[in-house]
């Protein structure tokens, strides 16, 4: 399909969204990410049965933490889509980029400027 989307997204491959740990997400913010989104299978259609539901809980928990420390939970989002949904991926990538642009660079970044 080769749908064009915003080039400031870097994809980190995971076997399942359920693999992702709180610390991995937090570390990404600490290192300087302005935003993070976790993409898992559609709810009810997890390739590994229910890993995406665990991921959802963890993402919710980390969002809360981000709110508490003042970074803002809206910098983190969980999306659900299947591997056959290329157009949706591109849409999410653009949507998230736009959201983060509005929020501006993360205060944790050593130098400012957009990614």
């Amino acid at each position: 399909m080769r749908l064009q989307y915003s080039p400031n997204i870097r994809i980190v491959e995971m076997p399942c969204s359920g693999t992702i740990d709180h610390r991995v997400i937090l570390q990404a913010f600490e290192d300087g990410a302005d935003g993070v989104f976790v993409a898992g299978c559609l709810e009810g259609d997890c390739h590994f049965q229910r890993g995406n539901l665990r991921a959802k809980k963890r993402v919710q928990a980390v969002k809360k933490l981000l709110d508490e420390i003042g970074l803002g939970g809206e910098r983190l989002e969980m999306y659900n889509l299947s591997s056959a949904m290329g157009p949706r991926f591109a849409e999410i990538a653009n949507e998230m980029t736009e959201r983060i642009r509005q929020l501006g660079p993360s205060p944790l970044r050593k130098e400012g400027g957009a990614a």
Partner: protein
């Protein structure tokens, strides 16, 4: 003893069919001789730019197969070779093969190309369809296997330049023809097809006008590896065309030339070329396809057609009179054509692409004559009815376009079926002639300082035209632990793989990073390469700088280059922390579970049972046969009930088949080679593979008075009524058949594929019973693909009247006194036609089973948007699911006719046998492990795991590696972080994201 069966198979033809058949056979325990007449394997697929309906890059998906086939220990490839003679009997043939001299020693040639640089002779390149040149010493295409040059003696002037240039001493002008004798048990013929020579049709101007080209020439023009590096220009003046026309059915559906058949693939490839052409230019491009019937009948094809319309591809239903050149020096072309209503139009185009049909090659026809095989009237191999793959000579099977025009998935499917059938014939000789793959002992790299090699791929121009690859390589050289970084035109090609192994040795590399395409398709290939270099396969990381970068940021080369650098930095940071993961192997339960007792399920079951494996056949109904019980006659007039009876008898009598009727699957667990399934009867079955063949249903129409009048039938009902001599049918004076009832509609946007041929067949049957009967077929496009076109012609000749309707102006069906009034608008005259019909037949859609959703969740296999099961890959894995060890066949996969379902069922059995024939399977290795001293035995993982892999042992959790599916959910959830997932440990992932923000 002459009757002893030989555990080797001869495969003739090295296109995608021959490659697939060879791989399946070699993986099932048979030695394969693959005989290819040209200097390299790859066939026509290698020439294509993209493939429909996914627009996958053809070479990208083929290349790993070329490499796999080329490097397979149990496949001996003989190029430039032809079969001369076959003697003997099924199970034990002696084949004489003549191999023409290559004049280059394949073993010595490194494929460096210095010889071609030096060669002074240029001739048109066959691979590029004569557009562009090659030298007299050449390699057909960049990714060719064998990766060796060849001298074209006809054009060689023996100047000696190549010999001087060759550092490897590979050139040998004294090579002579050799004759070999091969002993094989079975033969699979896949010689493919030739394209129709369009110059036979004078009025299209091919060969006279430079801007009239064939579709295959256009593929080469579009191809990144083609003569213009993927710049879409006219070969004549290298100008970008603004208006391109495609003309369909060139050399197809033409009975004057004795090419009465439909070539089946041209509608789809023309649409694909039009879509891809639009992607190739930033300027507006007009694309027009002139066609008679749009035959987008395959899985996912109708949506592709609709999408093309949305993207502005114009479709003109027409008949072409002639093409002339515009006399203003532009060399543009004028097409004069008749519209459907008979009016004449003339339009000008910059480029005209002729959608040329497929025909058998004279060489292949001649071979068949020598082998005594029956051919049909068009010179294609005549298939034995309901065999899917059998020729008229036992022990010789056929696959691909040589037994009828077909697309890649069907070709691959048939190749797997032919391989399966050959394997079945030779079951007792399985494993007698094969050798096993041995990897060098793994180097122990634990405790060593990481030494990382980075291999960056251009992927032709797929990556290189957007991302500045040399910059990425320079950056990589400065990353911590990187001791080597280099760039490759195609990292996956045979020569790059060889170079990779050499570099790993030379630089003492202990971690490898490849920056190229998708790990999904290419990781296994590269992992095998590093294993061959003595590295554990877990010491490998990939950066996807194509699908995730160059392809999706096509117009932003600076940002894409920056991103590619970041992706490489991240992969390198993770690679430095990678650890070797031990392989865990498991035995294979030599039994199969087949779900569904229709023709497909029974065919798969029989093939597997004949291979010697125990089969459990589960059918939810109380009897076998499925929907075929309602079919009376095949499309070639075959007696379906007696075929079905004999199939059921064979299944029931087979000692290796255990039937479970009136039973369904309740639970299933385990993994490839080791499944455990519980049936509703309570019985527990251990099996190594699963075949899902649960069929489909006929749609119950809600339109056209169905259910409101006893004069309205579905196709199956009409067939039954016909066979039973129902007076409603036998007494009818006028019959109307309406096509696409419930298909190609917004709620069911797919074509049901078989209904056109079925209705034409029913129309003929009605005419046969009562030649005076008026029979009308109301249709949208008649999709009698392949040789089914003969039926359509016959029906028209016998007076069946075909009237086209549009979805906006559907036929109106009303009850009248003693008849049914059908009103349709005549497509030629444009006026309403009123038919007083005694009976109305509805071509009701084929709809997926309601239980598909449940089975999909049970077996963890996906469905497509239409509710049919979705295969692992539309093109190259048409009967596999993404989950290893589970296969699919028949209507559960999508609408297909009986013959096609049988081929697919045999293919599923053939693919399944690649698993069952193995002694052990290796685990994927990327499993979760527990650090026992950190575990508090809190049971979180035990409760969480969907596969019941963790259990408590000695007051700590233990995860059974062969049950673990590697999702890592337990690792993410473990409160004390006692569980880690091999290859995805948290510190690796954190290093990876951390690297993104570090300056080099």
């Amino acid at each position: 003893m002459s009757t002893a069966k030989v555990g080797a198979v001869l495969v003739v033809g090295g296109g995608i069919a021959g490659i697939q058949a060879s791989l399946d056979l070699a993986e099932s325990g048979y030695f394969v001789y693959l005989v290819e007449s040209s200097p390299a394997i790859g066939g026509t697929m290698a020439m294509l730019d993209k493939t429909f309906p996914t627009n996958d890059c053809s070479m990208c998906i083929l290349s790993p197969k070329l490499v796999e086939c080329g490097r397979h220990l149990n496949i001996k490839i003989l190029t430039m070779a032809d079969v001369v003679d076959v003697r003997g009997e099924p199970g034990n043939f002696t084949v004489t093969v003549r191999q023409r001299p290559r004049y280059v020693d394949v073993e010595k040639c490194k494929g460096c190309g210095e010889c071609a640089e030096a060669c002074p002779i240029e001739v048109p390149s066959e691979f590029n369809q004569g557009i562009g040149e090659r030298k007299a010493i050449y390699k057909p295409y960049a990714q060719a296997y064998p990766n060796a040059y060849v001298i074209d003696k006809e054009n060689c002037i023996e100047c000696g330049s190549c010999e001087e240039a060759c550092q490897a001493g590979a050139i040998d002008h004294s090579m002579a023809e050799e004759t070999l004798e091969l002993n094989v048990g079975a033969i699979v013929l896949c010689p493919g097809f030739e394209k129709f020579d369009a110059s036979q049709l004078f009025y299209y101007g091919y060969g006279r006008f430079p801007n009239v080209i064939t579709s295959l020439e256009f593929e080469r023009i579009l191809s990144a590896s083609g003569p213009f590096q993927g710049h879409m220009v006219r070969p004549y003046d290298k100008k970008e065309p603004r208006r391109i026309a495609w003309i369909q059915c060139v050399g197809s559906r033409n009975f004057r030339l004795d090419h009465g058949y439909c070539s089946s693939v041209c509608c789809m490839y023309a649409i694909k070329e039009a879509i891809v052409a639009k992607e190739h230019t930033k300027e507006p491009l007009e694309t027009t396809i002139f066609f008679m019937d749009m035959r987008t009948y395959g899985k996912g094809f109708e949506k592709y057609y609709e999408r093309a319309k949305e993207q502005g591809v114009r479709f003109v239903r027409s008949r072409i009179y002639e093409i002339t050149e515009v006399e203003d020096g532009s060399k543009n072309l004028r097409i004069r054509y008749a519209n459907e209503d008979g009016s004449i139009s003339v339009e000008e185009f910059d480029l005209v692409v002729l959608s040329v049909g497929l025909e058998p090659s004279p060489a292949a026809r001649e071979l068949c004559q020598r082998l005594g095989l029956e051919l049909n009237r068009y010179g294609f191999v005549e298939l034995g009815s309901f065999t899917g793959i059998a020729t008229s000579r036992p022990g010789i099977f056929v696959a691909g376009a040589f037994c009828g025009p077909k697309d890649i998935p069907e070709t691959v499917m048939q190749a797997s079926a032919a391989a399966g059938e050959a394997a079945t014939l030779l079951a007792e000789a399985r494993g007698t002639l094969v050798r096993e793959k041995e990897f060098p002992p793994e180097k122990d790299v634990r405790g060593e300082e990481p030494r990382i090699g980075v291999f960056v791929c251009h992927c032709g121009i797929n990556i290189g035209s957007v991302v500045r690859v040399p910059e990425v390589v320079e950056m990589a050289k400065n990353l911590p632990h990187v001791v080597y970084a280099g760039e490759y035109l195609y990292a996956c090609s045979q020569d790059s793989q060889a170079a990779m192994k050499q570099i790993i040795d030379e630089y003492k590399i202990n971690r490898v990073v490849v920056a190229s395409c998708s790990p999904r398709t290419h990781r296994p290939l590269f992992q095998e390469t590093i294993r061959e270099a003595g590295l554990n396969k877990a010491l490998f990381e990939m950066a996807n700088i194509r699908d995730q970068c160059s392809w999706v940021h096509m117009n932003e080369p600076d940002k894409a280059t920056e991103k590619a650098k970041d992706l490489v930095k991240m992969a390198v940071a993770k690679a430095a922390l990678l650890e070797p993961v031990p392989q865990i192997s498991a035995g294979v339960t030599k039994a199969a579970l087949v779900v569904g007792g229709g023709v497909s399920g029974m065919t798969s079951a029989l093939s597997l049972a004949d291979l010697g494996y125990q089969v459990h056949l589960v059918e939810k109904e109380g009897e076998l046969g499925g929907v075929a019980r309602r079919i009376r006659e095949g499309l070639k007039g075959e007696d379906v009930p007696s075929f079905l009876r004999s199939l059921i008898e064979k299944v029931k009598a087979h000692p290796k088949i255990e039937l479970h009727l009136g039973t369904e699957v309740k639970e299933t667990a385990g993994y490839v080679g080791n499944f455990v399934t519980t049936l509703t009867s309570g019985k527990e079955i251990q099996h190594g593979v699963t075949v899902i063949a649960t069929g489909a249903r006929e749609y119950k129409p809600s339109e056209y008075l169905y259910g409101e009048s006893d004069r309205v039938f579905t196709q199956l009902e009409l067939e039954e009524a016909l066979a039973q001599g129902d007076p409603r049918v036998s007494g009818a004076k006028t019959a109307v058949l309406i096509q696409c009832v419930g298909s190609r509609e917004p709620e069911r946007p797919y074509c049901s594929r078989i209904c056109c041929a079925k209705s034409v067949k029913l129309a003929l049957k009605l005419k046969e019973q009562n030649p005076q009967m008026k029979v009308f077929v109301l249709y949208r496009d008649i999709r009698t693909y392949g040789f089914l076109e003969d039926l359509y012609l016959e029906a028209r000749r016998k007076g069946v009247i075909f009237i086209r309707y549009t979805p906006e102006n559907k036929p109106v069906v009303e009850k009248a006194d003693g008849f049914i009034r059908v009103t349709a608008t005549d497509h030629v005259l444009g006026v309403p036609v009123i038919i007083e019909a005694d009976i109305l037949g509805l071509a009701a859609a084929i709809v997926p089973q309601e239980t598909n959703h449940q089975l999909s969740q049970l077996f963890k296999v996906p469905l497509n948007e239409d509710g049919f099961f979705l295969e692992a890959h539309m093109k190259l894995r048409p009967v596999d699911f993404a989950s290893e060890g589970i296969f699919l066949a028949g209507l559960a996969h999508g609408p297909k006719n009986l013959e096609e379902n049988i081929a697919q069922a045999k293919a599923a059995a053939g693919r399944a046998s690649t698993v069952l024939s193995k002694k052990v399977l290796e685990s994927h290795g990327m499993v979760a492990v527990v650090q026992q001293d950190k575990c508090a035995a809190c049971l979180t993982c035990v409760r969480l795991c969907a596969y019941n892999a963790p259990r408590i042992r000695n007051y700590a959790a233990y995860i059974e590696p062969l049950l673990c599916q590697g999702c890592g959910t337990c690792a993410g959830e473990c409160p004390n972080k006692a569980i880690t997932l091999h290859g995805y440990k948290d510190h690796m992932q954190m290093a990876l994201s951390g690297a993104l923000f570090k300056e080099v």
